[in-house]
């Protein structure tokens, strides 16, 4: 297996060579992949890790005494330690490997169903993805707790003065994303966490959109739960993580019953395994976990500072170029945002624009981005969303701008 290329200086042409998919064509045109907020592309080193696992040491973990099982167990646990180090968790048992962000959120929501009481209040932000709304709605229906919404403003930012008013001694939980998937807004989570803790509430931060761009330090943030998905940060699908403070993870009941999560089983009583295994019933996504670790290594080798600075340049360039198109409106105009541009052209449905630009080889997302409340706020059916990653280029943005212009001419 090749080792990770050290990109000592940030050269996008070199970085692009790490991603085999970037050289393919779509509809006869070179692929321009601007749907990174939905899923990122996979570098060869991660693909190699997956192939290597299945070629050389595929085995079930934590059980077998044989060599393959030991090797797989070691690699899987090393991945957990890499994730721990990356997010600066105090201990590796605070990292629960899940199938992704949605699974992680559901795990926590399910745990709180035995803790919340009637009249307890749960705050959720207006900028959330459906996966960070629906589980809490279900939780509130189940427990009689009340769901309240932290509102947003026209720029697509949370209104913190309203958040202050919503907080009270009844507030037990606050759920907010670190970065909005639909608009790219970076939320002031330090302030949100700090204020929630003052009234005794726990905070879960959905970091699915943040982790591709920045490295959250869960201890510095003092966050209670932080969740992320590997597939948005150059890893494979079907694997993600839940960070939880030990105190909370010990308090929450197991999510699923099964093998791996038990200490002792008799028909009278089962005692549960310690963290993290208490929350990892059944055979986990071993290969995915290992590849997740490699993806984190890969991104760190490039460097998150270099990534953020380059993506910011792409964002500024694309914003300027797109706004030159008459009738184009950008949704989400916060000064604190990542490389996501959600836009519409007056009088044209986003689906129509998406269809035409796809024909020109450009992958963007259209629709409500699983954030219908945001679309309702702006009173629009959806947007076209172009989200940039560190392997995209200015030339690709030029291609997008040309394609949008063409779509506009065809559709007007």
């Amino acid at each position: 297996m090749k080792s990770i290329n050290q990109h000592t200086t940030f050269k996008v042409e070199e970085i692009r060579k790490d991603f085999p998919i970037l050289s393919r064509k779509v509809n006869g045109k070179p692929l321009v992949y601007f749907d990174n907020a939905a899923t990122s592309q996979t570098p060869q080193i991660v693909i190699d890790a997956i192939v290597n696992y299945y070629s050389n040491y595929n085995a079930n973990i934590h059980r077998g005494v044989h060599t393959l099982s030991q090797e797989a167990t070691d690699a899987y646990e090393q991945a957990r330690q890499k994730i721990q180090a990356h997010f600066n968790a105090k201990s590796s048992h605070e990292i629960i490997l899940t199938s992704g962000t949605t699974h992680a959120i559901n795990l926590v929501a399910n745990g709180f169903s035995s803790i919340l009481k009637q009249e307890d209040e749960v705050l959720v932000s207006a900028l959330e993805h459906h996966s960070n709304i629906v589980p809490w709605q279900m939780l509130c229906e189940q427990t009689g707790a009340i769901l309240k919404v932290i509102p947003m403003n026209q720029e697509g930012e949370l209104v913190i003065t309203e958040y202050d008013k919503l907080l009270s001694k009844n507030t037990k939980l606050v759920f907010v994303n670190h970065i909005s998937n639909a608009l790219g807004t970076i939320n002031p989570i330090e302030d949100i966490i700090n204020k929630a803790h003052k009234v005794g509430a726990a905070v879960l931060v959905d970091g699915a959109q943040a982790c591709p761009h920045i490295t959250p330090d869960v201890q510095a943030l003092d966050v209670d739960f932080y969740v992320a998905s590997a597939h948005k940060m150059c890893g494979p699908t079907g694997i993600g993580m839940l960070y939880g403070k030990s105190r909370w993870l010990n308090k929450l009941p197991p999510y699923q019953g099964g093998g791996e999560m038990i200490e002792e089983v008799t028909f009278k009583k089962t005692t549960y395994a310690d963290l993290p295994y208490k929350f990892e019933a059944g055979t986990p996504n071993i290969c995915g976990g290992i590849a997740f670790g490699v993806a984190i290594d890969y991104m760190n080798a490039i460097g998150f500072d270099a990534i953020a600075s380059y993506e910011n340049k792409l964002l500024n360039y694309a914003t300027k170029k797109l706004l030159e198109i008459e009738g184009l409106k950008i949704y989400g105009t916060s000064k604190n945002k990542t490389s996501v541009i959600s836009f519409n052209i007056e009088g044209i449905h986003p689906y129509d624009i998406g269809t035409i630009v796809d024909k020109l080889g450009i992958a963007v997302r259209t629709g409500h981005h699983c954030a219908q409340p945001i679309m309702d706020f702006y009173d629009i059916p959806g947007t076209v969303r172009a989200s940039f990653s560190f392997y995209n280029t200015k030339e690709e943005i030029d291609a997008l701008v040309e394609a949008v212009k063409k779509a506009k001419t065809m559709l007007s």
Binding site: N27, H349, Y351, D352, T355, I356, K359, T366, P381
Partner: protein, 146 residues
Amino acid sequence: MLKIENVNIKDIQNEIIDEFTMFDDWMQRYEYMIDLGKSLPLIDDQYKTEDNIIKGCQSKVWVHAKMEDGKIIFTADSDAIITKGIIAILIRVFSNQQPKDIIEADTGFIDKIGLKEHLSPTRANGLVSMIKQLKMYAIAYQTQLN
């Protein structure tokens, strides 16, 4: 409203395939569809109700059906123009036909005119649901006739 009397579904489909083979590339096909979309006879506003919406993930589609002289007349609309173009084609094929013919009709012609991608269930544009809905109306009317 486009009314083609006594032409069966298969013939209309072949006619549409002929029209589309004249185009050299996707852009001409899409420009044609956009034109069709713009000229689509709109559904009467009173039928643009929540009940008549076929919910696709991305664009809204409304369909209304009524029975006239043993044939079903469909009207429809969408908020997206390309979807409207496809609807115009579907209406041309399925409207003003007898329920049993609609039930039995296949939709392979969509593939032949280069619009296969719109039939993918993951496309989520409501088109698959729309065809299903047209056939459901036909089944419902057929049941009434029996």
